[in-house]
Point group: C2
Chain length 488, copies 2
Amino acid sequence: MRELKDLAGIIGLATWDQETYLPPKAEPARAGQLSTLQGLYHQRLVAPEVGDWLGAWSEKAVSDDERAMARVFARERDRAIRVPADLVRTLAESQGAALTAWRVAREARSFTPFAAPLERLLVLRREQADAIGHGGERYDALLEGYEPGMRTERLMPVLHALRDRLIPLVQALAGWPPGADALAGRRFPAEAQWRFTVELLGRLGFDLEAGRQDRSVHPFTGGTHPTDVRLTTRVVEDNLSAALFGTLHECGHGLYEQGFRESDHRTPLAAAPSMGLHESQSRLWENLVGRSLAFWRAVYPRLQRAFPGELGAVPVEAFHAAINRVARTPVRVEADEVTYNLHIVLRTELELEMLRGNLAVADLPGAWNAMLRELLGIEPPDVVKGVLQDIHWAWGELGYFPTYALGNLYAASLLRAAERALPDLWPAIGSGEVGPLRSWLRTHVHAEGSRLDAEDLVVKVTGSGLTDVDFVAYLRAKYGALSGRNLS
Amino acid sequence: MRELKDLAGIIGLATWDQETYLPPKAEPARAGQLSTLQGLYHQRLVAPEVGDWLGAWSEKAVSDDERAMARVFARERDRAIRVPADLVRTLAESQGAALTAWRVAREARSFTPFAAPLERLLVLRREQADAIGHGGERYDALLEGYEPGMRTERLMPVLHALRDRLIPLVQALAGWPPGADALAGRRFPAEAQWRFTVELLGRLGFDLEAGRQDRSVHPFTGGTHPTDVRLTTRVVEDNLSAALFGTLHECGHGLYEQGFRESDHRTPLAAAPSMGLHESQSRLWENLVGRSLAFWRAVYPRLQRAFPGELGAVPVEAFHAAINRVARTPVRVEADEVTYNLHIVLRTELELEMLRGNLAVADLPGAWNAMLRELLGIEPPDVVKGVLQDIHWAWGELGYFPTYALGNLYAASLLRAAERALPDLWPAIGSGEVGPLRSWLRTHVHAEGSRLDAEDLVVKVTGSGLTDVDFVAYLRAKYGALSGRNLS
């Protein structure tokens, strides 16, 4: 288990490096190195002697922790064993082909070049799901790869309830905000942005001696170990939000990674139980804290000092309104907190129906546009800002999108539980002190590692499982106050 | 072979990262990850099925390249197999203990704490040499690890001839230069130094799209692949030479690494045949080119523009004299081109006699000081600037020091051959054009990879093997001109 954890850490290093410091001509070499490492990881994971050892060890496991470790390790191993090596290879090749086709299609602003490669990936994913095994719903087998323990029949009703509450909320906010964006048209020097984001990391309690921040085109959190957590952010001079909320988002992931128990570090327990729960931590810091008025009341004076010319005359309320504008956009990554999950509902619905065979790939662009109209009342200007906007399907990732919505819902429920446990949570944040919240999350979420499946952990911490109730209540309260409209 | 090359590349990445960007708290985790990777590398290298494959493949090898590949690979593998795993482990532990003791001894300014751990390493290195096998001279087995094909009976007479020519040369230069150092007491802003070193890399033809430069405490060349060569340098504001010659030195190593044939990249042939030959390339660019008047005639105006306040009034001749001062110092890394190899003679002689059992560890400090007096006529102020100055013995590295001298000697002989082949070599350098020299080295040295052992390659290129003649002739000509003294 230690060897695999070390190898996974090194794969993390090689991947981080690929996105940050790798010289351009080394890209093919790095692909080869990563494929060798991943092959070695797989070989060691599925080795028969590892299975013998795991079986013997599981029987002797006496503590809860040992049993949890054996369970998490066996789950990863069983999944790896069930998928034949041939299928893994074919999938990797087809992903490469689909990615190329996706780029060609975007270039041509036409879905057609992408249709056949996507169809091929669907066929292979169905094969993979059957190899892994499921109780009749193939999507479950894929979902399990990102969100262990989650099932389609549990997920979809929650997403539908969420959808049914969000549509009227979006409608009630139509036309708001009326004024101009206080941040638009300003230029924020890159160096000052960078310094401010690093200061922000320190303020939030990210340990810069056990991690670092670098620049990359697409922000992400990687690294090799809980003492070596690597965040990236991007700095765009005419868009201050990119760096601010990029850093806040990745910092949430980073605090999770730094928060595992030291005694778990070289075991399978030093991991989040799911992508959704990981995302809950990034969303919590990015949105629930990072777009709150209380947080910026404490931090905004520093931001003004960093950009005196640009922000000196902008009051904190105007800044807060600017970072919380609601606008219906066809593009998911540009969406605000209110509309964002509708983009996820759309994708989850469509990929589920495609995998089930109820929606033909040829009909996908039409279905996409129809559902966007139904959910948001808008149409994409073209396929690049429509059905071809995300890279996920080109990677053959099916079952990944819902983890974004799960993250938002879990974040709201966890914050609600923290508010109940810490009555002074918001006054503390308002005076610049996020320590109590971070400590509470560390104790109740991060330090648990993967001892429990995500929803079981959320039940343990909040008293109830996956629900849209806390998230919708949060939106209603926040945007009701901001807009002055009645959103209940 | 590809898998091992990929693993070696990734070990290179993890090591580079350790010295550049690793967060301080991650040091223990990285040590564990590296040990896992090295263990995997060793396991795969010595695996019996690899031996079977290698045997079968060697018999079928038809081309010279295939035979060379099989030979290089088998040599590494045989060496790895011969040393028992227990001894490897004990050596690693004893190296750790010796390193700690070395630090304690330096802190205490006393050799005593280091004596027993060094004795232990000597015992283990003798065991290792016997396990590897030798013809009666254990030092050969260790030397072979850095300088395949080199033998003690070949090396020592050359080092002795070199010594006998250097001692009178140093004496003839006594009291020179008389004036003050034109670079002393000046401050060179770090940012401008950094920019200049990066420009220098481009000028020398180091491909910054297939490599990079970063900062580290001790400059080194690492990386993962010939398309991903990573140099480091250090910038010290009151010592311009540190960055200038650090960069020139590592650039020499880097040009070698970038110069392997593309078709060799994932084979054992994409490697220098020895440490000494690798060092010849760093010394060639650092000293033979990088401390020449011709080179700086072309480049110095740019350096002056980078530091107008500091160098605007310093003529190129004064700068050239400043970077070529000769002074007898007890510290190897501060030594100039004339005295440097005497430091190597001293270390080689002493480690050879210790390994042979002719010199007791307890007598080492006395022997060190006596030999320093004999070679340079000086004494170290204390053990920190004396017998404890280098980390090599604390690592248990015996046989490594001579590769520095081999590098200097090979560099001079190779440059001599280049001068014969390219009559316009120096005029070109004088007009800022190092391309002809670089191309010649690429063709005749770099692209050969490890097809031939170092000395065989040097014979092929220069017509004669290891010799001090070219190096001593170079010193006499250069310092004769600089000092105006008769050095023949």
